[in-house]
Structures are given as C-alpha cells and as structure tokens.
C-alpha cells in the first residue's frame, strides 16, 4: 500500500475516485439547488456568483445537475460492473474448469460478441428495448461480461492444474466448492483490475448513450444528456458544453489512473497481457 501511494498516478486516481464517490453520496447536501428546479426566465444564463456553472436551457442549475449526475454515472457504472463480472466470472470459470463442449460453446459466443463492435451492440440493444437507465445497464453488461469470461477462463486454465486444486479434489471436494474456494481466489487480481477499468468504460459508455438520446431520460440528470443540450446551444451558452465534459473526463481519468496503478500492484504480468 505504501508503495502504491508513492505512485503519483495511482494516488491521483485514488483521490479522484474517492472524490467522485463522495460527491455522488453527498450530492443532496452539496448541491446548492434542486437539480430539477426550473427558472425559465434566466435560462442559459452564464456562470455567476449565484449559479457557479450557470443555468441550462430550462433554467436549472448546472452545478447541481452535475453533482446529482455523479449518482447516475456511478449507479450505472457499478451495476454494469457487478452484473458483467458475475456473469463473466461464472461462465469463464465453468468454461476453464470443465472444458469440453461447454468451453467451446461459451468461447464461440464470446467470439461472436467480440466481433461485434461494443458500442454498436449497446446502441442496438437499447434501440430495441427502449431507452432507460435499466436497459442501458443491461446493454452494457451484455457486452461487458465477455472480457471477464475470457480473462477468468485463461486464469482458471492455469490454476486448475495446480497441486492444491488436485489435492482438494482428491480429498473429495466437489467441483463448485473447488472452483469457489480454491480456484477463483487465485484469479481474482486481474478481475479487480478489469473491474476498475470497466467502471471507467461503463461511465463513458453511459454518457455516450445518453448523449445520443438512448440512455437516461429527462429529467434525470446525466452528464451525457447535459452535453446534448450543450451541443444545441453552442455559441449561445458554451458553459453547457464544457462543465459536464470536465466531470466525465475527471471521473474516467481517475479510474484509469487507479486501474493502471492496480495493474502494477496486483498483477504486473497483466500489463503485458493487456
């Protein structure tokens, strides 16, 4: 941990990530205004003392909406990572441990999904299921589980031949127990790294889908949707196009820094595999 903290990138990433989480938790306390309260007379007003980041096209406080938007981003990010990793770890562990037709089937499915451009599949799924926060999570998890499955499968293939696994089986442990108690704990490090980077990816993807009108629907504050408004009022209210993007960039950068630092700490070999 001390070594990690000496790494500037990791420390910066950790600080940014902790700040993001704290902002999301404390948004109701930090936000100076109700994120949905409208003051249409003052719509598109530039930053001022009373509204530090200005007002949007419906006269809502931009700073408050950015702070509340952190909740949406983190909610989507964590939901996607949890769902994708649970599915991916389960299928990857089964594929790696049992092999045979199960391995072939799961890997062929991952081949097809990997051949499909990720964001395109997410757009396609949200387009047919309908735009909503839950469908965004479902779409992103559908493309996200593949990476975890492949990673865990590769790790399990190495670990399943280890002596301690053989010993556990010889002592009568059944396959689920062997996988959960002996195999998975030894493959968890790269999964943690992938999850951290996956969180950054999920936040960025949710923002992209919301920007395209396929994600979180109004009036729920979302950084991506705020940038859609920003694009509509370029030249008139440039602050709408600037500050939500700063929030996205800081969040994603912090998580990328954190992920990079974790790679060095938990699994330096992973950097080569990545």
């Amino acid at each position: 941990m001390k070594r990690l903290l000496k790494n500037f990138a990791f420390t910066a990433g950790l600080l940014l990530t902790v700040a993001l989480v704290l902002v999301a938790i404390a948004a109701p306390l930090l936000a100076p205004f109700d994120p949905n309260a409208q003051d249409t007379i003052r719509r598109l007003e530039a930053p001022s003392h009373s509204h530090l980041l200005g007002l949007d096209d419906l006269g809502r406080d931009v700073l408050s909406r950015i702070l509340w938007g952190a909740r949406v981003s983190l909610r989507v990010g964590f939901s996607v990572v949890i769902l994708a990793s649970l599915v991916g770890i389960t299928l990857g562990a089964m594929a790696g441990y049992f092999g045979g037709w199960l391995d072939t089937l799961i890997m062929r499915i991952t081949d097809i999904l990997l051949a499909f451009p990720g964001i395109l599949l997410a757009i396609a799924l949200v387009a047919v299921l309908g735009p909503s926060l839950n469908n965004v999570v479902l779409a992103l998890a559908t493309i996200g589980w593949v990476g975890y499955a492949r990673l865990v499968r590769g790790q399990v293939l190495k670990v399943r031949e280890m002596e301690y696994v053989t010993a556990a089986k010889a002592l009568g442990a059944r396959s689920p127990r062997v996988i959960v108690l002996h195999v998975l704990p030894n493959v968890i490090n790269p999964v943690i790294v992938m999850a951290t980077l996956g969180l950054a990816g999920a936040i960025l993807s949710e923002a992209a889908l919301s920007f395209l009108g396929l994600g979180v629907q109004p009036p729920t504050p979302s950084w991506g949707a705020m940038l859609t408004s920003g694009r509509r009022y370029l030249g008139l209210a440039n602050h709408l196009a600037i500050w939500p993007g700063v929030a996205i960039m800081l969040a994603v950068m912090g998580l990328n820094f954190l992920g990079d630092g974790l790679i060095d700490a938990l699994d330096p070999k992973y950097r080569k595999e990545m």
Partner: protein, 307 residues
C-alpha cells in the same frame, strides 16, 4: 501463406453467421408485439398487419431467418418505412461519407502519434516522455462528444475557420470531425509506438549496430523502427474498425451525413429495416477490417506464416 489466409477466412464464416443471427434477432427482442411497437400506438389493425407482413413477422421464425439471410446475401435489405426507398440504396449513399471520416481521422492520428511516440521512446523517462504519456492518458479519457463541441466553439464559432457542421465545404468540413476522432486515436497510437519502440531500442541488435559504427539515428530509423512497427500496424488496422463505430457519435456532433447518423435517425423514427441494415453493414465492415488486419499481420511478420 495461402493456408494462413484460408484458415482465417474459414474462422470468419461462423462469426459472420453469428452476427447475422444476432442482427436478425434484434427485431424479436422488442418488448411485446414488435409489429405493434413499430406501427406505433393508436395504429389501425390493418397498419399493424401491413407492418407484420412487410417484416415477415407473420411467418414461422425459421422461415423468417432463411428469408432474411438469403436476402442479405443478395444485398436486398428491404424498404425503409420512413422514406419508402431501398434501404440498400440509402446505405450506399451514406457509406462513403463514413469511410471518408474514418480515413481523415486515421491521417490525423498518424500525423500526431508517429513523431510523438518516437520522440517519447527515444527520450524515455524525460519530461518529453512524461508529457507524451500524460497526453495519451488525457486522450483516452476525453469523450469525443465533449471534445468535438469544444473544437466547434474554438475554431468554428469564435474563429470562423471551419464550418460548424455538414459536409458541403469539402476538405474544410472534414477537419474538425477528423480532429475529434483522430486525436483520441493518436493517444492510443502514441502509447503503442512508445512502448514498442522503447522495447526494440533495448534489443541487442541495436547495441551491436551502434557498436559497429552505425549512427544512433540510423540504428533507430533503419533498424529498430521497422520492427517496432509490426504490432503498431496491426493495432492501427484494428482501430480503423473502431473508428467506424466511433463515427456514429462524431457524425451526430457535426451532422455529418454518414451511416452512423442514418442509424440514429432511423432509431428515432423506428425505421427497423433501416436500423437492422445499418447495424449489419457497420458490423460486417468491422469484421472485414479485423480480417484484413489479421492478414496484414501475417504479411509484415514472417514468423506468423510459420504457424
């Protein structure tokens, strides 16, 4: 080499069918009755029946699938609900604009990444290297749907050097959209070139060349760089595929009349034949580019031919 190409081509066939199947099944993922959802609420029963017949939803699933695949193979994607025009014709009209945008972005990416990556590798761990690495990290963290509008503000609104949107002004129109996608890609390529070349510079053959009297510059550019470019070229080819999907967002920002914008418009108007066809064309282009990059890898790295 021909065995390598054949093997890669055969691997593509099940993947292509998998993608066809996935795209086909999209319509059937629509919650409820797809025909009712597509015709819209309040549609008359005869309109719903017409939509059902047009999409072949009144047929058994297997028949629908065979019908879909045989038509796709013939290049027949049906008729757009919105315009009543051939979907294939609309795609043919828009496709070149997307390719043009991807090529422009690639050009920008190479223009920036090559010098920066090379300098960063040569002067690794110096301030130049740190600046280049920071730029790379910013580049991958910065969303295009933020960066693009910032470029519009700076260069199209505050200084009217380039158009705000559209494709009417030829090369001038291409600059800002290409910068939007190209700079993000250059961040990835800079990192890749830096790592690859830095690795080559530590190899014994470089030290041997310098010891034999070759100048350091010659050793870098005539020997190390060539080998360092092998993984970079394949990443480049793969990233071209990603540019095609990234173009969906960039085309929306700049109202660029490409396939990505057509896809988004057809989603908003529930023009599902157009949605399906656009997704399929983009996905198939993506796997063709990946296939080409596999072949390229086999050409540039002689060791791969021996596999």
């Amino acid at each position: 080499m021909s065995q390598y190409i054949l093997r890669r081509f055969l691997q593509m066939i099940p993947i292509t069918f998998g993608i066809l199947t996935l795209v086909f099944s999209l319509i059937h993922m629509i919650p409820g009755d797809p025909a009712v959802q597509i015709a819209g609420e309040g549609a008359r029963p005869e309109d719903v029946a017409a939509v059902r017949k047009a999409l072949g939803l009144d047929q058994p699933l297997w028949t629908q699938y065979v019908h879909y695949v045989t038509h796709v193979i013939r290049g027949d994607f049906g008729t757009s609900f919105q315009t009543n025009l051939s979907v294939a014709d609309q795609i043919k009209q828009r496709y070149p604009a997307t390719i043009e945008l991807a090529m422009g972005s690639m050009f920008i990416a190479l223009l920036v990444a090559f010098p920066l990556g090379i300098i960063s590798a040569i002067y690794r761990n110096s301030w130049i290297d740190n600046v280049a690495r920071f730029f790379a990290l910013i580049g991958v963290s910065m969303p295009s749907f933020w960066f693009g509008p910032l470029l519009i503000i700076a260069f199209a609104i505050n200084h009217e050097w380039f158009p705000v949107s559209g494709r009417e002004e030829g090369l001038k129109s291409l600059v800002l959209p290409s910068l939007t996608m190209g700079l993000a890609l250059s961040a990835i390529l800079t990192r890749m070139i830096r790592v690859s070349l830095a690795d080559e510079l530590t190899q014994l053959y470089v030290t041997t060349a310098v010891a034999k009297g070759v100048t350091r510059a010659r050793a870098i550019f005539r020997h190390a760089l060539k080998n360092a470019l092998i993984p970079v070229i394949t990443v480049l080819a793969l990233q071209f595929g990603s540019l095609l999907t990234g173009a969906i967002i960039t085309e929306q920002i700049f109202s660029w009349p490409g396939l990505g914008r057509l896809l988004l418009t057809s989603i908003s108007t529930r023009d599902y034949p157009q949605v399906q066809a656009s997704i399929l064309v983009i996905a198939l282009t993506y796997i063709m580019v990946n296939f080409a990059s596999d072949l390229l890898y086999g050409v540039v790295d002689p060791r791969i031919k021996l596999e």
